[in-house]
């Protein structure tokens, strides 16, 4: 997988922190949960593994933490292969899905635990515990037990515990999954703030693409045990390389068709009797099947003729008023459920359900992608 784009932290020749090389994992010896995976995590980077459940992202995290052993391939941390290193010697902080705070210990005891097993001096332990509680803004709660804390507070304790022994690498497995929406957004910001402040490398697992977009320097999109694309959030949104990424990140309209002409970066795709000109993301040839992706907010309805590189006929099936925008459900090129988002600036813009209209978008807003393996949706 080509490294696409660079995050803010990668400008001055970044150092590799974690490396997956050809890693595969199978639990039962037949089905592969992770397939021949290559991935690089740079020092100080916030990398998110994003994908639907069962796509192998948590397995990758557990292999990195040392709880699972790769069936084949190698994982290196700081250039050193870690196959033979048990979890306790990897010096990795892990924040578990349900926090895994020890219920019989107070917050203070939970935080002291990793320091005590390292034989640290009690005075130093007190200092560090106090410091990390301050970091997560939970000063004065040392004496509480986890059961007496709110979900958000437990989350902060779990993060503090994963950081208190100052690991260079922190893994987080869907840490915000159990929180309600508002708290989740607040915690996203908190996690990001702490990570920036400490400069630790974070590998974060989530199935929530908004969370991934909001927090990450780079996002690795997982599907069926493979990485579809690794890129910064903007690049993932604007320049998806594969149909799965285009569909998974944000909303997208997909038109399936066959390439009938290639001109430099552009290709002409015949779909449903009309011709769409699209940016050639994959080196497709005439006759190849491709999926053309167009973001709903880039679709103009009834544009001034000649303004856009693509202009097609459409029928409006449904109009939903959503406050700041209108959501038009249309049939374009025989494809139903083609969505256009119209900013609520000029009201309805004069269109009604059942109207036949022209729709348009620029040449580069249409991206011809390699279709998913399943090939569903093709004629």
């Amino acid at each position: 997988m080509a490294e696409h784009g660079t995050g803010p932290l990668m400008d001055s020749s970044p150092k590799v922190h974690v490396e997956f090389e050809g890693v595969s994992k199978s639990y039962d010896g037949r089905t592969m949960v992770v397939r021949d995976l290559d991935l690089v995590v740079y020092e100080g980077e916030f990398l998110t593994l994003l994908g639907p459940s069962g796509s192998g992202k948590t397995t990758c995290l557990m292999m990195l933490a040392g709880f699972q052993v790769p069936t084949s391939g190698a994982i290196r941390i700081g250039g050193r292969a870690v196959d033979d290193l048990p979890p306790r010697k990897r010096d990795i902080g892990v924040v578990f899905q349900n926090y895994a705070l020890f219920p019989h210990m107070t917050v203070g005891e939970n935080l002291s635990f990793p320091l005590e097993v390292r034989g640290m001096d009690p005075q130093e332990i007190r200092k560090r515990v106090g410091g990390s509680l301050e970091l997560v803004r939970l000063e004065g709660l040392e004496g509480r037990r986890p059961g007496e804390l709110s979900g958000g507070q437990q989350q902060r304790v779990a993060i503090a515990r994963a950081l208190v022994f100052e690991p260079a690498l922190v893994l987080m497995d869907e840490p915000l999954g159990a929180l309600d929406r508002r708290l989740r957004e607040e915690m996203q910001y908190e996690v990001r703030r702490i990570q920036r402040k400490l400069g630790v490398t974070v590998v974060y697992v989530t199935h929530d693409q908004q969370e991934a977009m909001a927090m990450s320097d780079r996002v690795a999109v997982f599907q069926r045990g493979r990485i579809e694309q690794v890129a910064p959030p903007e690049a993932l949104y604007e320049e998806p390389e594969r149909e799965f990424v285009a569909r998974f990140i944000g909303d997208n309209n997909l038109l399936h068709g066959r390439v009938i002409g290639v001109e430099g970066d552009l290709c002409r795709v015949e779909t449903g009797g009309q011709i769409v000109t699209a940016f050639r993301v994959v080196p497709c040839q005439v006759g190849d099947l491709v999926s053309v992706a167009i973001r709903p907010e880039r679709v103009a309805v009834s544009p001034k003729p000649g303004l856009y590189g693509n202009e097609l006929d459409a029928r409006i099936d449904d109009i939903a008023f959503l406050g700041d925008h209108l959501r038009l459900r249309m049939t374009v090129c025989d494809s139903p459920d083609f969505i256009a988002k119209i900013p609520n600036i000029v009201g309805h813009g004069g269109v009604l359900e059942g109207d036949r209209v022209r729709v348009g978008w620029t040449l580069t807003d249409a991206r011809a992608l390699e279709p998913d393996e399943s090939g569903e949706g093709f004629p």
Binding site: P86, P87, R88, V94, F96, F102, P114, V117
Partner: protein, 390 residues
Amino acid sequence: MRPALLVLPLAAFILVTFVAPLAVMLGRSLYDPLVADALPETLRLLRQWDGERTPSEPVFETMAGELLKARRERTLGRIATRVNRVQAGLRSALLKSVRKLRSAPRPDSWREAMIAVDPKWAEARTWHAIRRAGERFTLRHYLHALDLDQAPGGGIIRQPPDLRIYLPLLQRTLAVSLGITLLCLLLGYPIAYLIANAPPRRANLLLLLVLVPFWTSLLVRTTSWIVLLQTQGVINDLLAAVGLIAEDQRISMIYNMTGTVVAMTHVLLPFMVLPLYSVMRTIPPLYMSAAASLGANFLQAFRRVYWPQTLPGVAAGSLLVFILAIGYFITPALVGGQSGQLISNMVAYHMQQSLNWGLAAALGGVLLGGVFLLYLVFNRLVGVDRMRLG
């Protein structure tokens, strides 16, 4: 109110079959009216006795009359046994005297006549014994059960060391029960851990292995231990066959304390495993992973993270096994021999053989009180509301 009526049959059942017999039995340890009912006048006269010299003629005369009446009512034997329990030797003195007096003509002096039959009647302690046997409400069974005795002067003294039976036995029972509890914990903890962390199918199978012996008759299991452990048993045969022990050095593993401990540990093991399992099942393996990721080795993780969380199960299982062990009867009776007997066997002996029900009840009362005391201490230390019994 109406739902409460649904448990009325159960409440009645428990009242009739458990609470009432228990109360009656415990009552026997404190209330003993037999002698008091049979010799009311004698005892009344004895109340004025100075307690040092031989009582005067009226006392002898009254008692002779009441004893002859008791003989006619066929309660004399039981009275003699009761008095004999307070002071050994008085049974024969009583029976002999009544036999002689009955056949002889009415004597001039009952006092002289009875002392002539048995000089014990001249001794003050004999009459102290009769007075004590005549107490309607009495603590002497409890004193007896605790190897204490009432001094003639009224104070309480310990029995001479060679006559102390029950306290050493109680001590032994406590020690053995404690040992069995520890053994059960040592053996049961890993089993419970294995079951709690196995995949469901295997967990069910393992649980079945724990429960099947539980469902098998106690007698069958105990007998199997006899087959295994006796001198001509499977284990000794095996050891002798491979030459680990000589033929004439076969180990005696049964009909002694070893047999009691082995068989009882086996019988009581499920009571430890089940509460432990029910607690361990609720502890996600994630905690151990978390501890490992925080830098703890297995021992540290177990001691600091896993073990403390299993304490409610450990407490429940231990209390259950200990309380069952302390009152266990059938297994020590079958495989305990002489040295493997526990306090319950002594209770049974007094119930069935010596027919000293008062003492049996007092021993039971002591046991009950002891268990209750331990429970209170335990509750103070651990907190029963934190326990998980299953």
